[in-house]
């Protein structure tokens, strides 16, 4: 075997916390051979990104590589002068960031940003770079490769932008590309395109890659070898197939098991009275273009309706209509047999109390300047006029229900982890004693294991309190886990709805089928198999993967 392309030994990375440096990465090793794809997986805070970036001897602000050795192609990078590192970065080791939308400069055309690195490094002229860009766009199956580069970042879709970013990383034909969660922000259907593009291009150019993600099923499609990290330490490292088949450590097994939990049967036997009815709702932001068209929907007591669709399909808009933030153009929202006033302003306190909402980002859904006491106590005082003591007592009960310690009552949200914050959001909603809680992508900002805990908690609470959920999500694994009924939306319309068992059983509507088949499975051959199957099925026709840009 030839010498490895990249060899990192005993890397210690420290982060500045207040006045002192605390270790984030505690002595990790990594070897990467030419053409090999290494998956780095772990929860947020495990140090995967920090470690991945260290392979080009780079750290984010507030971090430093304290010790270790980074040998790339025979050269030692740790302690190398900046000028030398600059030559390497972008040219021989490239980086693809998680959010392409945030990483592109919105003021420049894509192709100019593509050309920046090769021209800067003196590898080719601008004209050559333009030519090569078109070729790369073609390889990545971007539509209209001759012209797409002359668009601005906001003029292409999220999946296209992410592929343009992969193209950018390829511009200098690097030896290593670091992919930092490149598909986490994308819909399942779009994720497939990007994964396929990455797989194809790394194979074609025999590029080595470090693929950072928290999703084991995604990394299973790409990686030859997988490293599982936790708290800055290695949990397990193994050949990808081997690890999926025989995980050695409990933690890895937990990660693998995440997608397998299901809602119990007992919930299906609950009473069938309808709590919320949506009749013929059409809504629009501009007055000319309808974002929602003719939506009919029913939610029953103690049941969960999952609203599924990609971003832009109108799921969140429907939530805004139900809560009254966006009065519909047509149609009505009926709550327990009474039509709700369309606008929030004209709704009564009683209407508002029965309908609560939990948001996607617990960070922004909690006021950072309010202690938990105030966050949960306010709805109690507001809706039920509880006295201080009554509030205190009820807050402690609620904290107990959401499985958080009682002393959290005096904490600020910033002193909690993401999952804990989401629990507080749940407690805030429960404090109002609602009949229906709208959950808008409540788990998509969380790590898988944490998300699973949150889903379990929601299910438990439903069983105890008979509250209904409208569960908005694009994650079909979540849907399978917790829903009773499924509603599939596309372009502002409902394309299919019904009980979970019926929707998940074929035959499907073609869009439902596309969504379902796009959920990555823990099978290293899944992506290849799927792409082949789709290619055969479409028979040369362009697959319907691209929603209008």
């Amino acid at each position: 075997m030839t010498a490895p392309l990249l060899e990192m030994k005993n890397i210690v990375i420290e982060g500045l916390s207040g006045e002192s440096w605390l270790p984030i990465i505690k002595g990790l090793d990594l070897t990467l051979h030419k053409g090999e794809v290494l998956g780095l997986i772990g929860e947020s805070g495990a140090g995967k990104s920090t470690f991945g970036l260290a392979s080009m001897a780079y750290t984010r602000q507030g971090c430093r590589i304290a010790s270790g050795s980074i040998r790339f192609d025979g050269k030692e990078l740790f302690g190398a002068p900046d000028s030398e590192l600059r030559e390497l970065r972008g040219a021989r080791i490239a980086y693809v960031a998680q959010s392409a939308a945030a990483s592109f400069n919105p003021a420049h055309r894509l192709i100019r940003q593509y050309a920046e690195a090769p021209v800067q490094h003196g590898i080719m002229s601008y004209a050559e770079a333009e030519e090569k860009a078109v070729a790369t766009y073609q390889q990545l199956l971007l539509p209209d490769p001759e012209n797409i580069g002359y668009r601005f970042p906001h003029q292409v879709s999220g999946g296209q932008l992410q592929r343009a970013m992969v193209a950018m990383a390829m511009s200098c034909q690097p030896d290593i590309i670091i992919f930092d969660e490149p598909t986490t922000a994308l819909d399942v259907t779009t994720q497939i395109e990007v994964l396929a593009a990455i797989k194809d291009i790394t194979r074609r150019f025999n590029t080595a890659a470090i693929y950072i993600t928290h999703d084991l099923a995604v990394v299973a499609q790409l990686a030859d070898r997988i490293m599982v990290l936790r708290y800055g330490e290695l949990v397990e490292e193994n050949d990808a197939r081997e690890m999926l088949a025989n995980p050695r450590e409990t933690y890895t097994r937990d990660l693998l098991a995440v997608r397998s939990f299901k809602k119990g049967k007992s919930d299906a036997a609950l009473k069938e009275d309808v709590i919320l009815e949506i009749n013929g709702v059409t809504a629009s932001y501009t007055g000319t273009e309808n974002v929602l068209e003719d939506i009919d929907l029913e939610i029953r007591k103690g049941r969960t309706v999952a609203l599924v669709g990609e971003s832009g399909s109108g799921k969140s808009t429907l939530a805004r209509v139900i809560t009254g933030l966006l009065p519909p153009v047509q149609g009505e929202v009926v709550f327990k047999g009474e039509a709700l006033p369309p606008a929030l302003k004209s709704r009564k306190r009683k209407d508002l109390q029965r309908l609560q909402m939990i948001y996607q980002m617990p960070d922004t859904a909690l006021n950072p300047r309010q202690k938990i006491r105030k966050v949960i106590g306010r709805p109690l005082a507001f809706y039920f006029n509880y006295s201080r003591q009554q509030q205190e007592k009820r807050i402690l009960e609620l904290l107990d229900q959401i499985e958080l310690p009682a002393d959290y009552i005096d904490r600020y949200p910033t002193e909690l982890s993401g999952g804990e914050k989401q629990r507080i959001c749940i407690a805030r909603a429960l404090a109002a004693e609602p009949d229906l809680i709208i959950c808008d992508e409540v788990t998509s900002a969380l790590d898988q294991l944490v998300a699973e805990e949150i889903l379990k908690l929601l299910l438990n609470l439903q069983r105890k309190l008979q509250v209904s959920y409208l569960f908005i999500t694009h994650d079909l694994a979540t849907v399978k886990a917790i829903s009773d009924e499924i509603v599939v939306m596309l372009n502002g319309r409902i394309v299919e709805k019904g009980p979970k068992q019926e929707i998940l059983k074929p035959p499907h509507h073609e869009y439902t089928d596309l969504l379902l088949s796009s959920v990555p499975e823990m099978d290293p051959d899944w992506l290849d198999g799927l792409l082949e199957a789709r290619a055969e099925q479409e028979n040369g026709e362009k697959p319907m993967m691209e929603p209008a840009a």
Partner: protein, 275 residues
Amino acid sequence: MTATFKLLRSSPFSARLGMAMVLITLLAAIFAPVVAPYGETEVAGDVWLPASADHWVGTDNLGRDLFSRLVYGARNTIAIAFLITALSFIVGTMWGFLAATVGGWMDQLLSRIVDILMAFPTLIFALMVLSVVGTSIPALVVVIALLDSTRVYRLSRAVAMDIEVMEFVEAARLRGEGLWWLMRHEILPNAMPPLVAEFGLRFCFVFLFIAALSFLGLGIQPPTADWGSMVRENSGAITFGIFTPLWPAGAIAFLTVGVNLVVDWFLHIASGLED
């Protein structure tokens, strides 16, 4: 109470220095009659005497003891400047938050009114109003506070608009909270850092503005001492190589630096909570 004490104990040197500087000025202002060796308007010697044992920092353009006038000036300057700044912040943030929270026509109306007020050069506008209503300290306070509040309005509106789109504000709206709650409990605490920083700056600009008005005869009326007018009154001395006007100018700088050191620390604590 103990929390405040703890916070003070943990304050860095720069903040303590700032607090000391502000405290010295405040004490001098409060105990002016005790501290000052001469009266505020008492002519105590020759014009523009250099510093000596009798006159610690010399005398001014009319032969009054400069140190005594500095001490008395601190009273007027700080009290008036503080009053003006506080008033302008109360008015400015209220309207600014209201514009951001209600939006739509309310925002349009308030913003256009502010645009009109800002279209006049502030000094000209102040001159115009003060010459109509006559110069008095209440008139001065109201006019400058109103003019300053337009800037505060702009800032607080912009800051509040950023906060207003956050989901916790939406959550409060969905709960059915009224405007006052949204402004007072959801937006204000999160808007504090930039507002506090602006407060420190505005406070200092107000001295200078008063000084400019005083020079034109519409500010604080002589013989009442204030630092800004003291610089103006004595500015002629500079051409003779006498540095009398530097003393009141130094006093302004002293307080400005002190206030801003404290403000910087506030900002640091405030932003630390967000991380």
